[in-house]
């Protein structure tokens, strides 16, 4: 039980007043961006990345982790109260959650979400603490071919397997890989696609890309619809958010089932919490049918809300594990956090535990602290958070625009970065307009350089023989699993196309 000792050490360094302050700030910010539709934790971390450079890495990551979890605590509020899920990770919680709100149980629904998110996150983080060393040991046997296979797996899983349109997903992936190519090529020292501009020798900053796609792109998207989309009405929450013992007993098995769905998905680069939340919802629905639950689908079942909520945060918890131990980002927010590690000159993966063990364990400890703080600021103040839904959009987005400009300019005080930001912002707008997913771009930008280096390294060793890429049991398994997933997804797409033609 070496982990427990290390974790205690982590708690000791995370429980300093200043680090507690960062956890609290992260939790508050995360809940806020989760509650407000269209923002989300990925955008918040991207916007804060440049201004946190002057912080100590531990403080910055503690805050980011608070934001990641907080985003999933707040995300179901708009779905429950407005019936318009603000984030796709909250769609599955909207069905039963809004029914509960309509039948006068809005406060109870919000409390179910908060406790569900807490339980899911808690179990997943505990799993990470116990299995992280195993993952690290697994990762130490990885060679260039294995890392390349892992990158290909992440690329294809996020762009093709779960996406609405395979072509659009891969188009996004290609754009991301292209953006990552700009700059001086490490192994050979060749300047690539820099147009001779010295400012581009270091490549296009990840901050410019993430802020452009996630923040400025969203601002343009909101501008294109704000005078056209109808205004939605909000259900007022009455009373304090609390659950009585009967509710708690009813919801507990659902929370645990949701966690069981969510936890494994954090390790798979399937884009985040959406797939497990739907799986969890589907299971609760089948179970309700079997036991003839009259609430499900009418006045709203607490179980149908509890399971997806726990699933979402469990995904976030294990995603942190995959990020820290393997260096594998499995969602957009995790990808940006990986970029943050790289900005501080650290590379998540086995070496991180060795070289920056203190930071890793302090971060894991602060995840637990963050969850406790989040549940404390979410249950008693659920209706206060809901008030964020009435912030005037024009001020919100004006602030985001100014803040994007600030962040990008702060990176290197270069006006060229601002022009790139506008260009990438327009691409982000086009992608939203035509439903082209953004996550593949982020994953490609962040894992692209690694994929290229490892591929070239592998081929240099084998002197050009492509066989080395599939030569070990690990790579063969990864490619086989990927092929199976792609086949399943193709069958799924074709079946729906056929049924629509009929």
């Amino acid at each position: 039980m070496e982990q427990l000792e290390l974790l205690m050490g982590g708690f000791a360094s995370a429980l300093t007043p200043i680090n507690l302050l960062w956890v609290l700030i992260g939790a508050l910010l995360g809940t806020a961006v989760g509650v407000v539709p269209g923002l989300g934790s990925a955008m918040a971390v991207a916007l804060l990345l440049p201004v946190t450079f002057s912080l100590e890495p531990t403080a910055a990551f503690i805050m980011f982790a608070g934001i990641y979890f907080g985003g999933l605590f707040g995300d179901s509020t708009s779905g429950i109260l407005l019936n318009t899920p603000g984030h796709s990770s909250a769609i599955a919680s909207t069905f039963e959650g809004h029914r509960m709100a309509k039948s006068g149980q809005a406060a109870k629904a919000l409390a179910t979400c908060a406790i569900g998110a807490f339980i899911g996150g808690l179990i997943a983080t505990t799993l990470v603490v116990f299995f992280a060393p195993t993952l690290v040991k697994m990762a130490t046997v990885f060679g260039p071919a294995e890392y390349f296979a892992l990158a290909v797996f992440a690329f294809m899983a996020i762009s093709a397997v779960v996406s609405e349109s395979v072509i659009r997903g891969i188009a996004a992936l290609g754009l991301g890989l292209a953006l990552a190519l700009v700059g001086i090529d490490g192994p050979s020292g060749t300047a690539r696609f820099t147009l001779g501009m010295p400012q581009l020798f270091d490549g296009i900053s990840v901050i410019v890309i993430t802020v452009g796609l996630l923040a400025l792109g969203e601002v343009f998207h909101v501008a294109s619809r704000i005078h056209r989309d109808p205004v939605v009405s909000r259900i007022e929450t009455k009373g304090r958010a609390r659950l009585n013992l009967t509710d708690f007993r009813k919801a507990l098995p659902a929370w645990l089932r949701g966690t069981a769905f969510g936890a494994p998905f954090g390790l798979i680069p399937a884009g985040g919490a959406e797939v497990p939340t739907f799986l969890a919802y589907g299971t609760e629905k089948q179970l309700a049918k079997r036991r003839n639950d009259p609430e499900f689908g009418t006045t709203g079942s607490i179980r149908g809300l509890a399971a997806p909520e726990a699933a979402a945060n469990a995904t976030a918890g294990t995603a942190m594990g995959a990020l820290l131990a393997l260096g594998l980002p499995t969602s957009a927010t995790a990808a940006i956090m990986l970029a943050a590690f790289q900005q501080y000159g650290m590379q998540p993966g086995p070496l991180l535990f060795e070289r920056s063990g203190n930071l890793v364990w302090a971060l894991l400890a602060s995840l637990f602290i963050g969850l406790v703080i989040l549940v404390m600021i979410n249950i008693p103040f659920a209706s206060v958070w809901a008030k964020l839904l009435s912030i005037p959009k024009h001020y919100l987005y004006a602030g985001i625009t100014v803040f994007s400009m600030l962040g990008v300019y702060a990176v290197s005080s270069a006006v060229l970065d601002l022009w790139l930001l506008i260009g990438i912002g327009l691409i982000g707008f086009l992608m939203r307009r035509y439903n082209i997913p953004l996550a593949p771009v982020l994953i490609a930008v962040i894992l692209g350089p690694m994929a290229e280096t490892e591929l070239r390294r592998a081929l240099a060793v084998s002197e050009g023989d492509l066989g080395i890429l599939v030569d070990s049991p690990i790579t063969t398994t990864l490619y086989l699993v990927l092929a199976a997933a792609l086949t399943l997804s193709a069958v799924q797409h074709l079946r729906h196309r056929a049924s629509r033609k009929r």
Partner: protein, 215 residues
């Protein structure tokens, strides 16, 4: 390229209009994306061919760009074919994570039925009463784009406080706020607080412009 596109459309799509006949272009505006993909691919191709390769490592620095180029040409062409065969007008259905997830797949995973599909029906109607010639509000987008371009041009001559306040006001105006004096005040407050907090406390250097020269 996409910038000029926006400005051209911004003028065309200002007035609300009645029903209009579907032409060849209807539902095929996604060709803009095809154009972006081809542009990036051609840029990469030229850059790869004219690359001044250093060192003699094999595979060299041109190896990966070639793969990316092939992928980009391929998806751009496939996307063009798809748009030609099945034009797509914007619908009001939900696209989870802007196309990140297949709604059909989530539908199956969640065992969704008619109850869930109807969930969003009793929400306010998603189709607006008025119809517009273009789906996107190019006037507002154009205004915002003009705002950020002006900001970048004016940042160094005017300094952070003034240009950021102006940008704040313009975005708020474009998005529908009509309290001009108040908005300018909020903008000035916001930009000054940022200048103080990030410039003085965290040590980021923000341009002070001519105001800094006077003070």
């Amino acid at each position: 390229m996409s910038i000029t596109q926006n400005q051209a459309d911004a003028e065309a799509g200002t007035e609300p209009q009645g029903k209009h006949k579907p032409g060849f272009g209807t539902g095929r505006s996604e060709f803009v994306v095809v154009a972006v993909l081809y542009t990036v691919a051609i840029f990469l191709t030229i850059g790869t061919v004219t690359m001044n390769v250093q060192g003699k490592s094999a595979p060299g620095p041109q190896f990966f760009p070639v793969i990316v180029c092939i992928v980009l040409y391929l998806v751009a062409t496939l996307l063009a074919i798809q748009i030609l065969r099945t034009p797509k007008v914007p619908d009001n259905s939900i696209h989870p994570g802007s196309g990140q997830f297949s709604a059909d797949m989530l539908h199956d995973l969640g065992h969704l039925g008619r109850e869930e599909d109807g969930t969003f029906d009793d929400a306010p109607p998603q189709t607006p009463v008025k119809t517009w010639k273009t789906y996107s509000d190019w006037r507002t987008v154009g205004l915002m784009l003009g705002g950020v371009v002006a900001f970048v041009l004016l940042l160094e001559p005017l300094g952070w406080i003034i240009s950021a306040a102006a940008l704040f006001w313009l975005v708020a105006y474009a998005l529908g706020s009509r309290r001009t004096i108040f908005d300018i005040g909020v903008g000035l407050l916001f930009s000054s607080v940022i200048q103080l907090a990030f410039g003085a406390a965290l040590g980021l250097s923000l341009p002070s412009g001519f105001v800094g020269g006077i003070l």
